[in-house]
Amino acid sequence: MKPKRNPDVIWRHEQRREQQLLEAAERGEDISEGGTVILVVNGTMHQLNLLGGEIWRRCDGETELAAIVQEIGAEYEVAAEELEQDVREFLVDLQQRGWVTDA
């Protein structure tokens, strides 16, 4: 699968927020609710957490799911097998919402 963002979804990567969340994670705080990518879909705003944002930014229609898992795993030093299920589930959810398609 090569996930591709729906071009009608307007989005922005919030780098400063991401940096703040990474620092909070270092301090051992729970950052699962913090948004690093903001999406606007038909006028409604949503935010994706750190992992969601990492996946979303790679949904360019050219990168294979396996490569996405590899890249994120390497960046956060997590084994690909541990990540794969989470990435798959997240993408299924995005597909169901119509925000991502399989290129």
Binding site: R16, V40, G43, M45
Partner: protein, 333 residues
Amino acid sequence: MREQNTLLSAPLTFNWTLSFRCNFSCSHCYSREEQVPELSLAELKQVVDILRQKQVPFINFGGGEPLIRPDLYDLAGYATAQGLNVSMNSNGWLLDAGAAEKVKAAGFKSVGISIDSAEAGLHDEFRCMPGSFDRATAALQHLASAGIRTTMSAVISRINFRQFRELLQLAREHEVKQVYLHNFKCSGRGFQNREELDLTPEEWKDFYREALEVKQETDDLSISFDDPVIASLPGYDADPLVKGSSCGKLSLHLRPNGDITPCGFIPLVVGNILRDDFDTLWNESPLLLKMRTKEAKGKCVGCGAYEDCLGGCTARAFAETGDFSEPDPHCWK
């Protein structure tokens, strides 16, 4: 300080008044009495360049009447070519079939038409413009025929608060996808005419209760309120990104000379987009900091809704009391 800590890198929307000039003279207008020099097209394009650089995704042209500036199409085309999403709010008077085609060619994502009553006579009277209802509804048709997504905006006031269902019906008849029921703001002419136009807090509560119920039952039309004072009512859908007023947190307003204000209803200037460094204004403006870090005052202290409401509409509190943190005068609690 939570709001400031989670602040976005830039606003998501710039509400942009290109000119305070208008071909109408409405009783609730916030801007009709204002006069400021206007930027040239070249300067307006420089502003667009800054917005693109700062990754601001949305521009909404308002006014005054945006179509009063004939170079609106050029500017909008320039902005869409840079990847920005452009919309506008218009009274519809100048939007005939030819204009709708130009709107399409300029790449507008959607156009909102202001209609304050489903009764033609009442709308015309309120807008002091005979024939304006017919022109506004015709504009909706021209836009729909040109393939433009349309929205409808009504400012809720004494003249229409009991008939908002008729406004929704009117929207359906004209293929409108979204209706904004704007809360009445006490600024400009709206402030002078507030005795006549504004509802009492109890009436606001009843209106919103009913409107929120209708919103929940409606699936063929999206209904928006954008009024944080309703946070204590059942059916309120909390914004995932910010609490309280979104001005100065998700959006900013540009005046015709490039001055930035938190919103169109707060006449305090944060700085100028062409003269000042935008990041410094956005991150450090004492005015914006103050709006983002309100502290509960008066009856807001101890109110269970404060976490979502943050004292309601900051512009209304400021217009009445001169203090951002005072409770919204529309609050019924």
